[in-house]
C-alpha cells in the first residue's frame, strides 16, 4: 500500500473510493494509537467544489469547532463545545476538506511527548513503546498511521515540527501572524502559530494556501498578500544558500542524528544548493528564555478558566475563591500547574526585571542572531531534534530533560520565523527530521527546498509498522 497524499486521495476518489468511509475505517484500525480524542462521522458531505474537496483530515483538539467538542487535551475542557468556529476551521471547511475528528495533544499544548494529555498518551506508529512527540502528537501520529493525508497542528516551541520529526512526516510552522489564531485556544500568545502536518512539503503547501491570510478577528494576523505556495514548489534550489548553524549541531545532538541530517543536506547540495556554516551564538539561551516567556503568557491566558463561564466547575464550593482554586486544581494537570506557577513567579513583584524583562532582552538577541544570519543565507538548517523519539515514561520524571529536548525548535518561535521539519532518513529504524528555517513571510523558499529534497528522496513516503495498509 502507499502513503496517503492529497494526490493519492484524489486519485482514489476518481477511481470510486468513498474517501470519508475509508478514512473512518482507517481511524478504527489505528484506534490503538489513541491519536484521536473525538472521532466524528460527518453527514451530508459535499464532494464538489473547493481546493481540498472531499479530502478527510483531523484538527488538533485546540481549534474551536461548533460541531465537535474542543478539549485541548484537558479535563478542564472535557465537555466544552465552542459556540463559534476557529477561522482556520471555517477556511478548511470552505475548501471542501472534511474533518473526521479531533487529534489528541498535550494538555493546553504544553509538552513534547503527548504524555500530558488528560485523554492518555498517543503511541508512535513507528514503535508503540515510544512517544509521538508533542504537543501535536495526535496530529503527527494520525498522518504517520496513514489514516488521513493531513492534520492541523499548532507550534509554540516546536509542537508541529518535533512530532512530525518523531513520526517521519512533514510539519510546517508558518511565520507568526501568517495564519489566524482566532479560535485557537491560547497558550503563549506571542509564540503560538497554527501549522500543518502532512506527508510532503507539496501537501503542506496546498493546505497552508487555504489556511493562510489576514483575519480581522485576530489583531496579530498580518495583512499582507499570501504567496502562491504551489508555484514555489518547482523553483529548484540551484544557488540557494543554506546556512548550517553550528549551534543546531551542538554537542547535545546525537552523532547519528548529525550524520543523518548532514546526509540529507548533501542531497540538497547535489540539487544545486550551497551549504555554508553559520553561527547563532545566543541559541543556547533559547530554552531558559522560552521557559520564562511561555509560562508567563500561559499564567495570564489560563486565568480565564475559573469555573464560572465555561469549563470544569468544582462542586459545592465554599465561596468564590474556593470555586476558582478548586475548579482549577481539579481541571488542570501537573504540567499545566507547573507552568502556571512558574509564570506567576516570574511575573511577580520583585522578580519581573530579573526574569521576564531579561528573557525578553535575550529574545531580542536571538532574533538579531537570525537577522544577521539571513543577511548571508536564504535558509538555515539543522536537525529538528537532538535524537529520535524517546520511550514512553523516559522523561516524565524529569521535566528539565523534557524541556532540553526542545533546544533546536524554540528559538524559531521566539523570533517568529517560519520553519519546517522534513523526513531525513532513519536511525535504528526510527525517523529523523531535518529542520529548515526561513526568513519571516518567506514560506515559499521553505516549500521550494522541501519539495526539492522530497523529489530526490522517499523518506517521507515510508510507512511505519503501525500504519494502516
Amino acid at each position: 500500500m502507499i502513503a496517503l497524499t492529497l494526490a493519492s486521495q484524489r486519485a482514489a476518489c476518481a477511481a470510486g473510493t468513498d474517501l470519508l468511509n475509508d478514512a473512518l475505517q482507517r481511524a478504527e484500525a489505528a484506534a490503538g494509537l489513541n491519536a484521536l480524542i473525538t472521532l466524528d462521522k460527518p453527514a451530508g458531505v459535499a464532494t464538489t467544489g473547493g481546493d481540498l474537496a472531499g479530502i478527510p483530515f483531523v484538527h488538533k483538539d485546540l481549534f474551536c469547532t461548533t460541531g465537535q467538542r474542543t478539549t485541548c487535551g484537558s479535563k478542564m475542557l472535557a465537555n466544552f463545545v465552542s459556540p463559534y468556529d476557529a477561522t482556520i476551521v471555517e477556511r478548511l471547511a470552505a475548501s471542501g476538506a472534511v474533518s473526521i475528528g479531533k487529534a489528541n495533544m498535550d494538555e493546553f499544548a504544553m509538552g513534547s511527548s503527548n504524555e500530558n494529555s488528560a485523554f492518555g498518551p498517543v503511541l508512535n506508529p513507528w514503535d508503540t513503546a515510544r512517544v509521538p512527540g508533542g504537543s501535536s502528537g495526535g496530529s503527527a501520529a494520525i498522518v504517520a498511521a496513514n489514516v488521513v493525508a493531513f492534520a492541523t497542528g499548532s507550534d509554540t516551541g516546536g509542537s508541529v515540527r518535533q512530532p512530525a520529526a518523531f513520526c517521519g512526516v512533514t510539519g510546517f510552522k508558518p511565520t507568526y501572524g501568517r495564519v489566524s489564531r482566532f479560535g485557537m485556544v491560547a497558550y503563549a500568545s506571542s509564540l503560538d502559530q497554527a501549522g500543518v502536518i502532512a506527508r510532503s512539503a507539496a501537501d503542506c503547501a496546498e493546505v497552508l494556501q487555504v489556511m493562510a491570510g489576514h483575519d480581522p478577528r485576530d489583531a496579530t494576523s498580518v495583512d499582507r498578500p499570501v504567496d502562491d505556495y504551489r508555484a514555489a514548489l518547482d523553483r529548484g534550489v540551484r544557488g540557494l544558500r543554506i546556512g548550517l548553524a553550528r549551534e543546531l549541531f551542538s554537542a547535545g545532538v546525537r552523532d547519528a542524528m548529525q550524520a543523518t541530517v548532514h546526509a540529507a543536506l548533501r542531497e540538497l547540495e547535489a540539487a544545486g544548493a550551497v551549504l555554508v556554516d553559520i553561527d547563532l551564538p545566543t541559541l543556547p539561551l533559547s530554552i531558559p528564555a522560552y521557559y520564562v516567556i511561555a509560562p508567563a503568557e500561559a499564567s495570564s491566558n489560563l486565568a480565564r478558566y475559573d469555573g464560572v463561564r465555561y469549563g470544569h466547575r468544582a462542586a459545592d464550593a465554599k465561596g468564590l475563591r474556593d470555586l476558582y482554586s478548586r475548579s482549577r486544581a481539579e481541571g488542570f494537570g501537573t504540567e499545566v500547574k507547573r507552568r502556571i506557577l512558574t509564570g506567576t513567579y516570574v511575573l511577580s513583584s520583585g522578580y519581573y526585571d530579573a526574569y521576564y524583562l531579561r528573557a525578553q532582552q535575550v529574545r531580542r538577541l536571538i532574533a538579531n542572531d537570525f537577522a544577521r544570519a539571513f543577511a548571508d543565507v536564504d535558509l538555515i538548517a539543522g536537525p529538528t531534534t537532538p535524537d529520535v523519539a524517546f520511550k514512553l515514561g523516559e522523561k516524565t520524571a524529569d521535566p528539565l530533560a523534557m524541556y532540553a529536548a526542545d533546544i533546536n525548535t524554540v528559538a524559531v518561535n521566539l523570533a517568529g520565523l517560519p520553519a519546517m521539519s522534513v523526513p531525513a532518513g532513519f536511525i535504528d529504524g526510527l525517523p529523523a527530521g531535518l529542520q529548515l528555517i526561513g526568513k519571516a513571510f518567506d514560506e515559499s523558499t521553505l516549500f521550494t527546498a522541501g519539495h526539492a529534497l522530497q523529489s530526490r528522496t522517499d523518506w517521507h513516503l515510508a510507512l511505519a509498522p503501525g500504519a494502516v495498509r
Binding site: L285, P288, S299, L323, R328, F332, T334, A367, P399
Partner: protein, 95 residues
C-alpha cells in the same frame, strides 16, 4: 535558590490554584530545578538591549466603529456551568 513552602503557597494563592499537600514537595522541587535553568539568563549580555515582547512591531489595527457582532448570549449561556436569568451563578460572596 530553594522555593519554601510559604512561597509556594503565595504563588498558588496568586494563581488561584488549590495545591494538595501531596503535590507540594514535587512542585517545589520542580520549580527549584526550573529556576536553576532560567538563572542562565543572568549572564546574558543584555545591557542596552530593547526587550522584545512580540515578533512583529506593527501598530494596532483600527476598524470602523460599527456593530459587528450579533447577540450570542443564548449560545454563551449554553456552555456555562450554572446560569440563571441570563446571569452567571457563583457562590455567595456577601453573607
Amino acid at each position: 535558590m530553594a522555593i519554601e513552602t510559604a512561597q509556594l503557597h503565595r504563588l498558588a494563592h496568586l494563581a488561584r490554584l488549590d495545591l494538595p499537600t501531596a503535590e507540594e514537595v514535587r512542585l517545589a522541587h520542580d520549580l527549584d530545578a526550573l529556576l536553576g535553568l532560567i538563572a542562565q539568563l543572568q549572564n546574558a549580555p543584555v545591557d542596552g538591549v530593547r526587550p522584545m515582547a512580540h515578533p512583529h512591531e506593527v501598530a494596532a489595527t483600527l476598524r470602523p466603529d460599527r456593530v459587528s457582532e450579533s447577540d450570542r448570549s443564548a449560545a454563551l449561556e449554553g456552555i456555562a456551568p450554572e446560569m440563571q436569568s441570563g446571569l452567571f451563578l457563583v457562590p455567595k460572596v456577601i453573607e
